[in-house]
């Protein structure tokens, strides 16, 4: 089989600051001012930001490859350059085959148009021919489960219906190379499963698939090979499990017990305006980020209240290596909420007695909540290990491969 995508020394720089007066676009005044400034004095050099830094890799035809990394690591920029949406600053991309990219669900959907009309428009935008759309129209409608609203403007759709229709169109694309960005993060669980199934089919049908996700479970399930980006550089490329492990342990490396979160760049823009997580401190008995099996799990969260909050609560989630959520602890569920003042610092301690996590590495996410609404959230803030030593007896514990993450005390009886 031949190479479908060859990327060599790909670099993409964005200009930050410089002559633009802080806006996202330039006005004539900026441009004219720029010329005048250049004429009379030395121009302050604009600061380039490297979204992608000398990235090289090759993807063979028919491979399904996952791309992972923190927010801002350059995943989306990589997909955009591969989809020809934006031009690289330097480096080359060689692609053999017809590419379709799904960078969001429902690209070009117009709220005033009906579901039927949007299927045609969206399909055409994604690169389907009119004849192809007509031919697959019934399949698309069946997959979307919105038959009876086909002639309703999509502005009246629920967000679930909207997503289902949009994904249905995308799922019936038949390009040689498919580039997918995080679209599975939407929709209800049942529909997500359906989408994952469809993605698997696409992967098995010999097409080349590039898949970006934060969902480690989906990544490990769909992609035999995974590429890891960190700050625009390619830092990992190999088998899915190894690279996912590398990614999840990134959070804890060099952090020790306390992870500073206040200036954490990984948080999404939506969060951190009302409350901001300041730090997460693991508090095991030994001064390393390790708990013995069965040892009480203790941690301390600090957060900063940007604005006054009624009934603020914190939450902690524990994920396994594949990004599947194992358990969540929200302080309000135990009746612990705080009424905060502007500018206040608050500290919350969590103790989970004998958490029954099998030996292995786990990832921690944390959040500040109020009345069910998430005010701040940092995913994979840090990681910790559960040692194969029983806290009570000191005995060695060696769970069999694939035994699952939880080990509960139990009693067996037999008649033998």
């Amino acid at each position: 089989m031949s190479d479908a995508i060859t990327v060599a020394n790909l670099t993409k720089e964005y200009v930050l600051g410089g002559t633009w007066s802080g806006r996202e676009y330039m006005t004539l005044r900026d441009a004219l001012g720029g010329w005048v400034r250049t004429a009379f004095k030395k121009r302050s050099k604009p600061r380039p930001f490297r979204a992608l830094d000398d990235v090289s890799f090759t993807i063979r035809q028919g491979d399904t490859v996952g791309i992972i990394g923190r927010n801002g690591a350059g995943k989306s920029t990589l997909l955009k350059t591969l989809s020809r949406i934006t031009e690289p600053t330097s480096g080359t991309i060689t692609i053999h085959g017809r590419v379709s990219s799904l960078l969001e669900v429902g690209t070009g959907f117009h709220p005033e148009l009906t579901g039927r009309e949007n299927i045609y428009l969206n399909g055409s935008l994604l690169g389907m021919r009119r004849a192809e759309i007509i031919q697959r129209f019934d399949e698309i409608v069946a997959f979307s489960e919105v038959e009876q609203f086909l002639d309703t403007p999509v502005k009246r759709y629920s967000s679930g219906m909207y997503v289902r229709l949009a994904f249905a169109v995308a799922a019936h694309l038949e390009p040689e190379i498919l580039i997918v960005d995080e679209v599975l993060a939407v929709g209800d669980v049942a529909f997500q499963k359906k989408c994952l199934g469809k993605m698997e089919d696409i992967g098995h049908s010999g097409r080349t698939v590039l898949f970006v996700s934060h969902n480690m479970a989906a990544i490990t399930r769909l992609c035999p090979r995974v590429v890891l980006l960190r700050q625009g550089k390619l830092v990992g490329d190999g088998g899915a499990l190894d690279v996912v492990k590398q990614y999840l342990s990134d959070g804890s490396s060099g952090h020790g017990l306390t992870t500073e979160l206040l200036n954490e760049a990984r948080r999404s823009d939506y969060f951190g305006h009302v409350a901001k997580l300041a730090s997460l401190e693991l508090r095991p008995s030994a001064p390393v980020p390790e708990f013995r099996f069965g040892e009480d799990f203790r941690l301390r969260l600090r957060f900063h209240s940007v604005a006054p909050i009624l009934h603020a609560a914190v939450g902690v989630g524990i994920d396994d290596m594949y990004g599947s959520r194992l358990m969540t602890f929200n302080s309000d569920e135990s009746g612990v909420t705080m009424t905060t003042e502007r500018g206040g610092e608050y500290t919350v301690d969590l103790c989970v007695p004998r958490p029954c996590l099998n030996p292995g590495r786990y990832s921690l996410s944390c959040a500040v909540l109020s009345g069910g609404q998430i005010l701040d959230f940092v995913a994979n803030a840090t990681a910790f290990d559960v040692l194969p030593i029983d806290d009570a007896s000191g005995a060695h514990i060696e769970p069999t491969e694939g035994a699952g993450p939880i080990r509960l005390p139990c009693t067996w009886t037999s008649d033998g």
């Binding site: 676009y25 441009a31 148009l113 935008l125």
Partner: protein, 260 residues
């Protein structure tokens, strides 16, 4: 011109069709009067101009009734001004598309011009009604109407693509354009006859691509020979603007996404 990927544009012809179809559909869906607006806009202008320039100022029309005279000029002008305004803003308004999917960017301003053609067709029907009403015979000159329509499209495409690209980089054009269009109307022989401009200024007058287009269109409709110097000058200018416009668009389209 070699830079323009004609083959690729041809590949994406269906998308152009869908983009035009979307613009037309959405416009008429949101408006109660629907396609009525396509007629109402030039008709209102016709009534106002007829009262002011026809009745009060009594501008010469080379012998035609003022309402038909001005409507025949308003038809290509309205198409041009709407097409230019819509395409100028088209790329900025389609930011959500061009940052998420690849297709030849020039399709966006192209579709805006294309959607205007539907309005033109509707408004053209009223022109036929007016011709019948005022007993204006249809002469062989009428065969030139499609030629002048093509010239109008060329002029609108040229100006529209340049402005769409400029608006991405310099939002100022959003504010300049409505005023510029207003001034442009009076630099174009819509409300007055081209013959009022002295013959020695005709080439200068023709530098306005719409001057020759409106003159030619109106002459063809009213059945008399156009002022050829004016038409020829404008035609050359229109084609030049289109060629230069597409070249400029090509040069800057790579960076649209990073700016829009």
């Amino acid at each position: 011109m070699t830079a323009l990927h004609w083959g690729e544009l041809w590949e994406y012809r269906e998308l152009l069709y869908f983009l035009v179809w979307r613009d037309v559909k959405v416009r008429y869906k949101q408006a109660v009067l629907g396609a009525g607006w396509a007629v109402l806009q030039p008709t209102m202008a016709m009534v106002i101009f007829t009262v002011i320039f026809g009745r009060l100022v009594k501008l010469p029309t080379d012998g035609s009734p003022y309402p038909v005279f001005v409507y025949a000029g308003l038809l290509p002008w309205t198409f041009f001004s709407n097409a230019v305004t819509n395409s100028a803003n088209s790329l900025v308004n389609s930011a959500n598309l061009i940052t998420k999917v690849y297709f030849p960017r020039v399709l966006v301003p192209l579709a805006s011009v294309g959607a205007g053609l539907v309005d033109f067709a509707v408004a053209f029907l009223l022109l036929i009604v007016l011709l019948v009403w005022y007993h204006i015979p249809i002469t062989p000159w009428f065969a030139l109407v499609p030629v002048f329509l093509v010239l109008t499209i060329i002029a609108a495409l040229g100006v529209g693509t340049v402005l769409s690209a400029l608006t991405v980089n310099y939002r100022d054009f959003r504010y300049v354009l409505p005023f510029a269009i207003q001034v442009w109307l009076y630099a174009t022989p819509v409300t007055y006859a081209s013959s009022v401009v002295p013959a020695r200024y005709r080439v200068l007058f023709g530098l306005n691509p719409m001057a020759g287009v409106v003159e030619g269109f109106r002459s063809a409709v009213l059945g008399r020979p156009p002022l050829w110097t004016l038409v020829e000058t404008s035609a050359v200018v229109s084609v030049a603007i289109l060629v230069l416009g597409l070249a400029y668009f090509q040069r800057v389209e790579r960076t649209f996404v990073d700016v829009v």
